[in-house]
């Protein structure tokens, strides 16, 4: 990588300002095109038949009646998606999840699909498909599934991560362990120990826009896919591999996205739509219903976590230990592993041990959800930390400050930290007016910390300067949180021009080099690095063109504030040339002016946040109301502060829903009982107070502007902050998320009964 990413400590003109979002007018006037808004001539309607059983062998599928129905153009089953994964187990799981092959593994698992001339015909056709199932025993609870008597979901699974391969298969796919020191010694040194078990229920990202795509496969092997996704390049790779297409012949265009939060990092419907189009010879549009989104996309894990923390009387934590069991759905995952890494990442610990267990259950395949796995681990740990502070008689914030990780601390997951922001977020919370505001009866205040890694990844950007001096910026990271605005600010900053002269777009997969997914809070971090690099490459050309226009050596030209300057007194009569002046002459100085960049944006800085929550609990009904909420988080450098604040508020809002109401509820038959927004209640505006934010800027040393990812960390502390607030309000430690009214009443009842 011929680019120096180190932080330079420069002053900014554009970065840090708050221009109006470029996509705002289209979105509020309905012009923005989302996944379901794209149409092609002659397109068919795709519909998917899904298993009603949580666990069943598919003995046979008879599609003959459906195929004969007038208006049906294609019916597919797993036979139309042959296994081309060549031993790649992760890809095989994606294939099997897209269309069940031998067994249906959860309620909602796709088993067949049709393409017809309209939705009514497609629905009729689904009813004509006959499937002979052999229903098997199922398990949906994470603790029950980990038990050795539980129904086996895959008899080829033997727990990984053990020194010896186990003799019997189980639903536990992997054991992972992190930590250092000696926890037994640490607990022996403790004056106080808190030990508790916690549970969190499965939740969905709750994005408003369902999965939607239009696929068109041509007889010559070329294909197009218009899709709502967080990563169209990754979708292209996965779909090409699963369908046996050449990646270069599959052009994928990402639409606007109505929320993703990790849930649109994974293909489900897209390979099915492509297979239907291939068989029908016509474009196929496939849009999931809300019921399908809940039953058959990728919610987060349900968890069961045991935590033990010990401290001396002076408030020093001497040892911390956690065992974390995370559900993965019916396919292997690494969700407990992430929980085990993040659980104690906020703290400076001499003795720490975490063990994670990945557990198969008959539920949908778990997918990433905003800082995946970290919120549940933080809920368990931060609840125990709060309880320990109380036992010690210490203020909850002071206890955390005393034990907070800092630069040079060995993290609980291994490496030593560089400059980090946990201490400053805690100090900011300690002095925040929110912490001193009075509380009324039945109200409680809680606070908690959270950590997330942030990632970088492969990134490619094109910056093209038009002859009128305006700039087109083509990026390959899907704009899920305002990155087109922030990347335009970065281009304007580097080039020294006004923000209004830059227009950023998300390019399709045939127009730009490969880009990793927009995940891991990497969109602005990675693409800003590539944009800076591309702009600097363009400036080299601009200087060369100015040198030609002046007929002087290029070494005598510098670039300052959007202008080429001829250095030295001998050029005193040469007026600076603006970018616009140089662009206007580009046709006769060498042709188009552009800057390109292809890089791996590694070195994303870790991120910390601390949240404060005030909550009111009705002791008669268990109903809760969040009355005040404050987010303090390190952004490294806030490129567009309004968007950063929006990320902070969005994470808190999702966390409030997760903490108080949201959960997947399965019946004894293994079927999901609440696959809709009426019964799965996400918070709406009237449920939320104005969420206050405070941005801290501790520069990331591995980014030229000091930028860190900001999108995910904000969902890590809310479960714990709210649980601490509710616990303080009712005087009972809450250990089960969500803290819905019946669960709060049950906890109060249990406390009364002793």
């Amino acid at each position: 990588m011929n680019f120096d990413p180190r932080y330079s400590g420069r002053n900014f003109s554009s970065v840090g300002t708050r221009p109006i979002r470029p996509d705002g007018v289209d979105k509020v006037t309905g012009r923005a095109r989302y996944g379901a808004d794209f149409n092609m001539a002659g397109q068919l309607v795709g519909r998917v038949l899904r298993s009603p059983h949580a666990h069943a062998v598919i003995k046979s599928i008879d599609t003959s009646k459906a195929e004969k129905l007038a208006g049906v153009k294609a019916v597919i089953t797993a036979k139309d998606l042959p296994d081309l994964t060549d031993g790649d187990a992760a890809m095989y799981d994606i294939l099997d999840n897209s269309m069940a092959r031998k067994k249906a593994l959860y309620d909602g698992h796709a088993v067949a699909a049709v393409a017809a001339i309209d939705a009514r015909t497609a629905r009729q056709a689904l009813k004509l498909i006959e499937i002979d199932y052999e229903v098997l025993p199922h398990v949906t609870d994470v603790d029950e599934a980990a038990h050795h008597h539980a129904p086996l979901i895959n008899d080829q699974v033997f727990t990984e991560g053990l020194e010896e391969k186990p003799a019997k298969p189980s639903n536990v796919t992997k054991r992972t362990q992190f930590g250092h020191g000696d926890v037994h010694k640490g607990f022996a040194e403790a004056d106080f120990i808190v030990e508790r078990s916690f549970k969190t229920e499965q939740t969905h990202q709750g994005y408003i826009e369902p999965h939607a795509c239009v696929a068109s496969v041509n007889p010559d092997g070329t294909a197009e896919l218009w899709v709502c996704t967080q990563g169209h390049f990754v979708y292209r790779q996965h779909c090409a591999q699963l369908l046996g297409l050449e990646a270069s012949k599959l052009r994928v265009t990402s639409s606007e996205i109505g929320g993703g939060f990790g849930g649109k990092t994974h293909v489900w419907a897209e390979p099915v739509a492509l297979a239907l189009s291939r068989k029908a010879g016509r474009p196929v549009k496939l849009v999931m219903t809300r019921d399908e989104v809940f039953r058959a996309s990728g919610p987060t894990s349900a968890t069961s976590i045991d935590v033990k923390i010990g401290a001396r009387k002076d408030g020093t934590i001497t040892a911390a230990e956690a065992t974390l069991r995370y559900s993965c759905g019916p396919y292997a995952g690494s969700w407990a592993e992430i929980g085990a890494m993040t659980a104690f990442a906020c703290y400076k610990l001499e003795n720490v041990k975490t063990v994670g267990y990945e557990v198969l259950v008959n539920r949908p395949k778990t997918a990433a959800y905003r800082a995946p796995s970290a919120p549940m681990a933080a809920f368990a740990v931060e609840s125990a930390v709060d309880e320990l502070a109380k036992e010690l008689g210490m203020d909850a914030v002071d206890f955390r400050i005393k034990n907070a990780a800092q630069e040079g601390t060995r993290s609980s997951y291994g490496p030593v930290y560089g400059p980090i922001g946990i201490g400053p977020t805690l100090e900011a919370v300690k002095s925040h007016p929110h912490m001193k505001a009075p509380l009324k009866a039945n109200q409680g205040r809680g606070m908690a910390c959270g950590f997330w890694f942030n990632f970088g990844g492969q990134t490619c950007t094109d910056l093209n300067i038009g002859m009128d001096g305006t700039v087109s910026l083509a990026v390959g990271t899907v704009d899920v949180g305002g990155s087109r605005a922030s990347l335009s600010l970065v281009a304007a900053e580097e080039l020294g021009i006004d923000y209004s002269n830059v227009k950023a777009i998300v390019a399709d997969t045939s127009s730009l080099g490969y880009n990793d997914m927009t995940d891991g809070s990497r969109g602005t971090f990675s693409s800003s690095m590539a944009t800076i690099s591309a702009a600097r490459n363009a400036i080299k050309i601009l200087k060369d063109r100015a040198a030609q226009m002046w007929d002087i050596p290029v070494e005598d030209v510098t670039w300052e504030k959007g202008h080429a300057i001829a250095k030295g007194e001998k050029y005193g009569n040469l007026s600076p040339l603006s970018l616009k002046d140089i662009a206007a002459k580009s046709g006769t100085t060498g042709g188009p002016i552009a800057g390109h960049s292809e890089l791996v944006a590694d070195g994303a800085g870790v991120s910390f946040a601390t949240h404060i929550c005030d909550i009111e609990v009705d002791p008669e009904t268990g109903a809760t109301r969040v009355i005040r909420y404050t987010v303090v988080q390190d952004a490294g450098k806030a490129v567009h502060p309004t968007y950063v604040e929006g990320q902070y508020q969005g994470g808190a809002a999702q966390g409030i829903g997760w903490a108080l109401n949201e959960e997947y509820i399965y019946g004894k038959d293994g079927r999901l009982q609440n696959a809709g927004f009426l019964d799965y209640r996400i918070p709406v505006c009237s449920d939320l107070p104005m969420i206050d934010t405070q941005i801290l800027e501790i520069p990331n040393p591995n980014h030229p502007y000091g930028v860190r990812g900001v999108g995910e960390t904000s969902i890590v502390p809310p479960l714990a902050a709210i649980a601490n607030a509710v616990s303080n309000a009712v005087g009972v430690r809450m250990t089960h998320i969500p803290m819905s009214p019946p669960r709060i009443l049950a906890a109060l009842e249990a406390e009364r009964e002793g």
Partner: protein
């Protein structure tokens, strides 16, 4: 020579040893030598391993040099949302 620490699960396929001394100039050579010594590690490398060099995590820059005496930690390559 650099000191390399493997996270728990990975050390299980590296002879049960978490700490290793390895002569490697960059991440690519480190992976190659580990796989030569412990073939069981190869599938893990294929699935993705992140490398923390003095606290900074690298996931894809296999040409990244390993400074003499640096602290090297191998970590799982994680998913984000």
């Amino acid at each position: 020579m650099v000191a390399v620490t493997l996270w728990g699960s990975l050390s299980a396929v590296a002879g049960g040893k978490a700490k290793h001394e390895i002569e490697a100039k960059d991440i690519r050579e480190l992976f190659r030598k580990l796989a030569e010594q412990y073939p069981g590690i190869e599938p893990w490398i294929d699935r993705g391993i992140a490398v923390a060099i003095d606290g900074t995590i690298y996931r894809d820059t296999w040409s990244k040099e390993l400074p003499e005496g640096a602290e090297i930690f191998l970590l799982p390559r994680l998913a984000g949302g």
